[in-house]
């Protein structure tokens, strides 16, 4: 067997093990070990599995991952988040489909601050969906909007997926953060526009809500809601103004979240303990996959498989758009079976060398990948966020109804994706401002 074949066979066996429910990190690690042994020798394989975990994890840049996780979990555990929906509702209830539009806004902000799509959807499912059902909203809309809007946080900074992508693609995380802002905003605006249009055309989907709020209630809502926007703005402006790096921003954000929770009198030993437990669990889980990916990356480099793939694509004509479209298809398929961090880390060692050969801007490409990962979170049959919704809602809305409701949002997301691909300037304008 030549090296390229060894690389391809090892990758396929790895995927097979993943399908058999072997932990992703273990599956990738073990096939990489034997693949490297087959290409070089056992000694080299032992050397690499011994050196990689310590040398790789002991890297300052990656501390951003646990820090951003901590920031999000503190905000959730201290319940800084539940008032967002109420405030958005008071401000937006007059619009057609107002409660659903309010959900988009609250989800976007929550997901941005927490960096977790799953946690956002789980929390909002309990707060917003029952309210919408009470006002006779279509159950598909009431559940679909939460499952879909929860994904918005991957593009709106700060985002853990961006930290990981930036690390592997060796591009500036600060620039990625800025690049994601407008596409993320566009996604949210298009969601809202789609809801308003549908609710106007067919009012039975979202009957008008007869609610009026006094001036005091509006002011009260604003007072309740400030901590989350303050958290996001504090972190982003600090990066933008150069007070701290994106890596440090996570730690500043986590401390800021604790301070805000204390100011709101929501901080306690139990909150801290809960947030820390979730953070270390999430961190160790993510990094096991990361270590498997790094090992797979070594195998890929040794086998030459990515170069062979790149040559193959170039022989096909190999322009940028073809390469991007192939990645779109690959991600949409993988998105049906794997969660977003898994897909990103699994594919990067293979597709990054390919994109470099074709000469695609890596910042723009990162934004496309992350938008694809957002879509993958709600596509059947796996659509992680949909199952999270189902888990949070219990018997309130059946699973096929949630998938049906999500369909409209997937269609909207496809439009957003096309716009991101057609107009790179949308992603690249803010980062270019930052350099000057």
């Amino acid at each position: 067997m030549d090296n390229v074949t060894i690389g391809a066979v090892a990758t396929l066996i790895g995927l097979f093990l993943v399908a058999l429910r072997v932990q992703i990190g273990v599956a990738l690690g073990i096939v990489s070990f034997f693949g490297i042994a087959a290409i070089l020798n056992m000694r080299a394989a032992w050397g690499i599995v011994t050196a990689v975990p310590f040398n790789f994890v002991g890297d300052w840049n990656l501390t951003a991952v646990p820090m951003f996780l901590l920031m999000g979990y503190v905000a959730f555990s201290a319940d800084l988040t539940s008032s967002l929906f109420r405030a958005m509702r008071i401000l937006l209830s007059r619009l057609p489909g107002g409660l659903a539009v309010a959900s988009v806004g609250a989800c976007a902000m929550l997901a941005a601050a927490s960096g977790s799509s799953v946690a956002t959807s789980a929390a909002m499912a309990r707060i917003a969906t029952p309210e919408m059902l009470r006002f006779k909203y279509d159950p598909g809309l009431a559940s679909g909007v939460i499952a879909s809007s929860g994904t918005l946080g991957s593009l709106i900074p700060p985002s853990i997926l961006m930290v990981l992508y930036g690390y592997f693609a060796e591009v500036s995380i600060a620039q990625l953060f800025m690049a994601g802002f407008l596409p993320g905003l566009l996604s949210a605006v298009l969601f809202a526009g789609m809801i308003i249009t549908r609710a106007t055309l067919n009012p039975s989907l979202a009957p008008p809500v007869e609610e009026s709020f006094s001036r005091e209630e509006k002011m009260e809502a604003l007072r309740e809601v400030w901590p989350m926007p303050a958290l996001i703005l504090g972190v982003l402006s600090g990066i933008f103004l150069g007070w701290f790096t994106p890596t440090e921003a996570g730690a500043v954000g986590a401390l800021l979240a604790m301070v805000l929770a204390t100011v709101r009198r929501r901080m306690s030993w139990a909150v801290l303990r809960d947030a820390v437990t979730r953070t270390i669990t999430g961190t160790a889980g993510i990094f096991m996959v990361v270590i498997g990916t790094v090992l797979l990356g070594r195998l890929m480099a040794l086998s030459g498989l990515p170069n062979a793939l790149a040559d193959f694509m170039l022989s096909w004509g190999g322009d940028q758009l073809t390469a991007i479209l192939m990645v779109v298809v690959l991600y949409l398929i993988l998105g049906m079976f794997l969660d977003s961090i898994g897909i990103l880390l699994l594919t990067l060692p293979i597709i990054l060398p390919v994109t470099q050969t074709v000469g695609i801007d890596l910042i723009w490409f990162g934004i496309i990948l992350i938008k694809l990962l957002e879509i993958g979170l709600v596509t059947p049959p796996v659509g992680l966020n949909v199952y999270v919704m189902k888990g949070a809602l219990g018997t309130l809305v059946p699973l096929p109804t949630i998938f049906r409701g999500v369909g409209w949002f997937i269609a909207t997301d496809v439009v957003t994706l096309a716009i991101i691909i057609a107009f790179p300037i949308l992603s690249l304008w803010l980062p270019s401002m930052m350099l000057q």
Binding site: F54, V276, I286, V382
Partner: protein
């Protein structure tokens, strides 16, 4: 078996608590660094290295067993869910054994590596000297604990028909306190 499980749970919990302390220290030291740089002209010497080598390594590796006890390692269930129940249990046992073998190999290798680092007194030379070897013992501790946890789960998946290997299962956190 019950006793082994409780002991393992306790041990994994203690390692996770150490990781939690590393996490909070990392936050505090990073913020201190930012404050020092912006207001007092320079970061703290060696701070970054300490955080990378000690805190980050402890935070990632020490809780591995704890995460396995809670069934929160990242895996894909979709295909297995389609299997008949006997085949599903067989693949579960197999998946745990594959993981146990991999982690056992890593435990052995990282242990030898840590001992070697201890014997030569491995240090990192930056602006100051930092002793590296104690951090290296985090790896065999974490990998060892996750090896044992995987073996326990292989045993439970093989013997207990009600065993549920998902984060929501009662097995993940029998004591919700």
């Amino acid at each position: 078996m019950k006793l082994i499980e409780q002991g393992l749970r306790l041990g994994c919990g203690a390692l996770a608590a150490l990781a939690g302390i590393a996490l909070l220290l990392m936050m505090v030291q990073t913020v201190l660094d930012v404050v020092m740089r912006n207001f007092f002209g320079g970061p703290i010497e060696g701070n970054l290295e300490i955080m990378s080598i000690y805190h980050m390594v402890a935070l990632v590796f020490l809780p591995l067993g704890f995460v396995e006890m809670r069934h929160e390692h990242i895996s894909v269930e979709l295909v297995v869910r389609l299997f008949p129940s006997w085949l599903r249990r067989a693949t579960e046992v197999l998946a745990y054994l594959v993981a146990a073998v991999f982690f056992a190999l890593l435990t052995r290798q990282t242990w030898l590596d840590a001992v070697k680092a201890f014997e030569i007194g491995e240090i990192l030379m930056t602006s100051m000297l930092i002793i590296v070897w104690p951090a290296k013992f985090s790896l065999p501790l974490g990998f060892g604990s996750v090896t044992l946890a995987c073996l326990l789960h292989a045993w439970k998946a093989g013997t207990d028909p009600d065993f549920d290997p998902t984060p929501t299962s009662p097995d993940a956190s029998p004591d919700p306190s």
